[in-house]
Symmetry: C2
Subunit: 306 residues, 2 copies
């Protein structure tokens, strides 16, 4: 369930564009107005605002937001304003273009591949080709070391059957195969990859039910995340938010990603899981950790009335 709150009466895209344009004009920028407009519109509404803004003012709203705003607030608003498929393509591209492709960064590709719908993942791959002149899987295969590349390509190219059906017998057999691969420490075995990469989410949940969970450290950590993302995406995102604010300093990029990418998907559930897992509220944790317009924007996406 989504957390954003769209008002009962939504202004036309042209009116919203005008409000935004007013907010950009003169000395200083009216950040509150930007939060009020963009933070309370769903994906298709934002898309129409971006189109309408271009029509009226001849500029890409993303470019204007980038130049008028700054810091983590700017990054969050821009990420939110992208079309979701373009957004994920850009998130993946940042990882693959990064000099240091740590396992933590690579997990963003697992996240995109395993917590979104099959049709969304295809849309991400299409966006990737048009934005970056190569395919997502080509970029992974040519820039990530094996066997991690193998796992990531398998997941990123999946188009899982997405109806709620599972074959218990198959689940038992495949749980056995997974267990065997774990015991033999052959986590990159082709059978493991094809089970995790081609079976439907529902079939896999049945398989994971049969079995416990897995046991090279990077590969293990990646596969554990695959399983978590598939089995409990909302727990995964509760963890993303928690990890980003826990301890000394904040990982704003991860926090933004967690909130922005799920605000229209299942952030309500992730918020519930957060409470169950950490015995404190996600909203309060965010309030205690970040500040200013950035904080207000994230809370708006979480459904608060700022």
């Amino acid at each position: 369930m989504a957390t954003i709150r769209v008002p009962d009466e939504v202004p036309s895209p042209a009116q919203d564009s005008e409000t935004l344009n007013q907010a950009f004009r003169g000395w200083g920028t009216d950040e509150k107005a930007i939060i009020r407009v963009l933070g309370k519109r769903n994906g298709s509404q934002r898309k129409r605002i971006r189109e309408s803004y271009r029509e009226i003012y001849g500029k890409d709203l993303i470019d204007v937001l980038t130049s008028e705003l700054s810091g983590d607030f700017m990054k969050a608003v821009v990420l939110w304003t992208y079309d979701p498929a373009e957004r994920d393509a850009r998130l993946a591209n940042n990882v693959l273009n990064g000099k240091k492709k740590s396992i933590e960064k690579l997990k963003i590709i697992v996240e995109i591949s395993c917590t979104t719908s099959p049709n969304h993942l295809i849309a991400v791959r299409k966006a990737y080709c048009s934005l970056f002149d190569l395919s997502l899987e080509e970029h992974i295969a040519s820039s990530v070391p094996f066997p991690l590349a193998k796992v990531l390509v398998t997941l990123a190219t999946s188009f899982r059957y997405d109806k709620d059906m599972a074959d218990t017998e198959v689940a038992t057999i495949e749980a056995g195969m997974l267990r065997e691969a774990i015991t033999a420490k052959q986590l990159d075995h082709d059978h493991v990859l094809y089970i995790l990469g081609t079976r439907s989410i529902y079939q896999l949940r049945e398989t994971f039910d049969v079995d416990g969970c897995p046991g090279d450290a990077d590969l293990k950590s990646l596969l554990q995340m695959v399983i978590l993302c598939i089995e409990f995406p909302e727990k995964h995102f509760a963890k993303v938010v928690r990890d980003s604010i826990e301890g000394f300093g904040t990982d704003e990029d991860s926090l933004t990603r967690g909130i922005v990418t799920r605000a229209e998907v299942d952030l309500m559930k992730a918020r519930g899981e957060y409470y169950n897992m950490y015995n404190t509220s996600m909203d309060n944790a965010i309030i205690g950790d970040v500040s200013g317009d950035y904080k207000d924007f994230l809370l708006t996406l979480l459904g608060s009335n700022i």
Copy 2:
């Protein structure tokens, strides 16, 4: 280039539906009328006819064609009338449901994966899920032995960048990697698969230019076909037609597949290649090998005026 000839003035879908319905009525069926209508309409026109037929007569045109016609003629007309993505999904499903999945049959999946556009291949995978309640790659991984399954999954899940750009340096490096894998007889090496499965067609053509060509027998034969399909799809289809009519007896299913699936794509080129490769015309070869309505239908798709 396509071979089918759409008349300058095309009747409305409702008129075509009526002509077809007339052809089905009474004793006997008017096969010539069916050829004249369906054999001279392109994909979107046939789609509209099928929709209109359902609206007017409350029946799926495919079902009526299946019951009114018979033999290879029926199979060819039905295959032609399907939406191209549904058609390829059904062709692949026939292979994967077959008890004996010979390497010749499995090559149909290579053909679908390597000779069609990235967007078409995605449409085939979507059609596969909605028609058969599992994903194409899931069906491959669970029913074809390794390492063939590995190659087929990699190809079937590809979404290649499809602009005409190639990096010569990458081509040289990857041609070297392919050569090495061939020498070491490690054709199922992950690097081979990711080169063949993720690089764009244009990049791969550059790579094959640098290198010669490859040399377990089934795997070799499959990969040679991958290369042929990618480098010269029209030569591949000339060969499909030739192999289907050569020697004793005809392989009507392959002949139908070769003509029907390419009549709107590149059959004109394949016909030219056929002449270059075998020093005889494809049309005459077909005329000499098959007969009746089936022959007339294939020739209509080849652009003849029957």
